[in-house]
Structures are given as structure tokens and as C-alpha cells.
Symmetry: C2
Subunit: 201 residues, 2 copies
């Protein structure tokens, strides 16, 4: 353990900042100091924004997106086409696809992929919710926008099996997504192109 630098409040702030993805122990110190120096310009508004997120942000009970409204802004947007659902592993993928801006539709967030080695089975993902949404009717197409990884593809095939007997077209993203690549790291043009040339399973 390193020597205590300042009061325990600052130490605790540094320790917590070090847990934020993208920051390590050293950059957490710099971040803490920067925040303290920019008290009015950055520390105060960030403190307020975190408190507000803590109080208001929740998981959408329809699609699994995170938002301050439940159902979320996307689910309740009347200008979105209702007949198509894009199925993603994670909210980060939903955000990436929204930034690509290629389709004005709704989503379904699985919350991960099937991974027997990690003990993640169908009941740990929001697959039953997806089947229920399709069974309710009104969904003509499901775009399985899962990552191009073994787990992603395994999950896609499992979902296709579960949807068997329901009247729905299942498509996937066009090849254009690099094999082994993660959606959230792709540029928006590639994502838009992959959505436009999506193919039938």
C-alpha cells in the first residue's frame, strides 16, 4: 500500500475513479486532481449528473435498454418502425447501432451471450422476453446483431431454434463485421453498411 497522500476523502475518490473503465491508478490520480481544480466547471456538474443517473436511470422492462423512462425513449418513440427488432448482446451495441443511424426501429438487449464455460445459460439472458415479444405479434423481422464471435453465433442459433414455429423473418448483419470483432469498436459507416446488406439466416 502506498503512502497516504491527502485526506481519506481524496484517497477514496482516487480509488473509485481507478475502477472506471479507461482509467487506471495513475490516471485516476490525475483525474481526481483535475476534478478538484475544476470544482465549479467539472466536479459540481459531474457530481450532479452521477447523482441524477443514480436516482433516475433504470433498465427498460420491454427491451433492456437503460434510460430514465421505462419503457425507454426508443420503445415509446411513435416514429420508429414497429415491425423490426434488432437483437443485441449489450446496451453498448444498441448505442453503437443508434449512432450508425441506419435503421429507425426498436431493439432487444439480451444482456450477454450463451457461454456454458462461464455458466451462462438461456435463463441468464433475456431470451424468453424476446420470444414473448415475437409471440405477441406485430414483429415481422428480427435482426440478430450479435457479435461475430463463437458465443455470439451460438446464441444466434439458439434463438432461431426458440423462434421456430413463430411467423417471423430472422436476418443477420451482412459480412462486413470483422470475424471476432466487437460491434462497439466499429466505425459507424461499417455498421450502417452491414445493417443495409443484412441477409436471411
Amino acid at each position: 500500500m502506498s503512502k497516504r497522500i491527502a485526506g481519506p476523502e481524496i484517497e477514496r475518490l482516487i480509488q473509485l475513479l481507478a475502477k472506471v473503465p479507461g482509467l487506471g491508478p495513475r490516471s485516476a490520480r490525475r483525474a481526481a486532481l483535475h476534478l478538484i481544480k475544476k470544482k465549479e466547471l467539472l466536479l459540481a456538474p459531474l457530481s450532479a449528473a452521477l447523482a441524477e443517473a443514480l436516482e433516475k436511470v433504470r433498465v427498460c422492462s420491454v427491451c433492456g435498454n437503460v434510460d430514465t423512462a421505462d419503457p425507454c425513449t426508443i420503445c415509446t418513440d411513435p416514429r420508429r418502425e414497429q415491425a423490426t427488432l434488432i437483437v443485441v448482446e449489450d446496451v453498448a451495441d444498441l448505442w453503437a447501432l443508434e449512432r450508425a443511424g441506419a435503421m429507425n426501429v426498436r431493439y432487444h438487449v439480451l444482456g450477454g451471450t450463451l457461454s456454458p464455460l462461464d455458466g451462462i445459460g438461456p435463463d441468464d439472458l433475456n431470451i424468453a422476453g424476446l420470444v414473448a415479444r415475437v409471440a405477441e405479434g406485430g414483429v415481422a423481422e428480427i435482426v440478430l446483431a450479435v457479435n461475430a464471435t463463437v458465443e455470439g453465433q451460438t446464441t444466434a442459433h439458439y434463438i432461431i431454434d426458440r423462434l421456430a414455429g413463430l411467423e417471423v423473418k430472422v436476418t443477420r448483419l451482412a459480412h462486413g463485421v470483422p470475424v471476432g470483432g466487437e460491434l462497439d469498436y466499429l466505425d459507424e459507416g461499417t455498421l450502417a453498411a452491414a445493417l443495409k446488406s443484412r441477409t436471411a439466416f
Copy 2:
């Protein structure tokens, strides 16, 4: 401007996180999502820590350190040798030297370096405060631990001129600090060695 992803609260959180050093726009989105997912484990304590820092952290009126106490924990620590002051440009340098743990003394934070091109003159730095601390008596040695940059060395020479006539030994860090290097990026062993072999100006 990119398409709005979620509610304005999350957008605002992402925008503010992007201003934290070490995070950019893309990593700010990942950080926001991670915080929202780890609501109890990370978002809640970080929100509390920022609120506490905002309320309690202040600049020490004696040395310029940041702490929840004024005078700070270091200035009021009775186990620290009182006769030596280490002069640093920034609180980050003070923290780096404390981590090196080579000297159990007190500090004086200048708040920058002289930089005529940027319009930073002696009155913009806490140099008058340093001269006053030395003039009060009880300080036998000043270690000018400024960066090994042109601005740092110019500032050191200006401080030596201002201290002329006062009974104080002025030293600097040993060569060992790379030319053009910034203290805060050095490893602790190098800093400790440079402090131990400090030389007279």
C-alpha cells in the same frame, strides 16, 4: 452532433465524463454504461465521493496542497521536519514526491511556472507566499523540485533572486530527473534517488 442515444441525463453524464483526463468521447460512453450497470458497487459510492469532495476539499492556505483540512494534513503533521520545504509546480508533483516517500518534510505549491508567452508572471504563482514563509523564519532549506524544463528552471532562478538576503539554503533535485521530463511521470525510485542526492544551487 450524433443522434441522441438515451435520455438527456445519460447524454449529459457522457459529455461530462468525456472531459475527465484519460477519457475521450468513446471511453466516456463505456464508462457511463459501466457506472449505470454497477449502480450499487460503483455509481453510488462514486457519486457520494464526488459530492463529498465538492463539499469538503479545499486548497491549503499555507502550502497550496488540496485536502479536506485547511491547513492541510501535511502542514499540520507534527512528525514532519519543519526546517525543509520542497517547492513544486503542482499538487500532482507533491503527490508524486509523497509516493516516493524519501523526505518527511513540508511543501510549497507554486501553481505553475513563469511563462511570459502565456502571460503567467510572478503574481500568478504563489511565490509571495513562499517568500513570506521563509521570512517568518524556521525554514533552513528550500528544495526547488520544479520540472527540468525551461519554464521550470526559469522559475527556479526567479525564486532564488526573490529569496536573496534571506537566510536559507536553496537546493535542487539531483540530475537523475530526465531533461524535459515531468516529475509526475517518473518512477518512485528515481524520484527518491534524485531527492537524496540533491545539490546546492
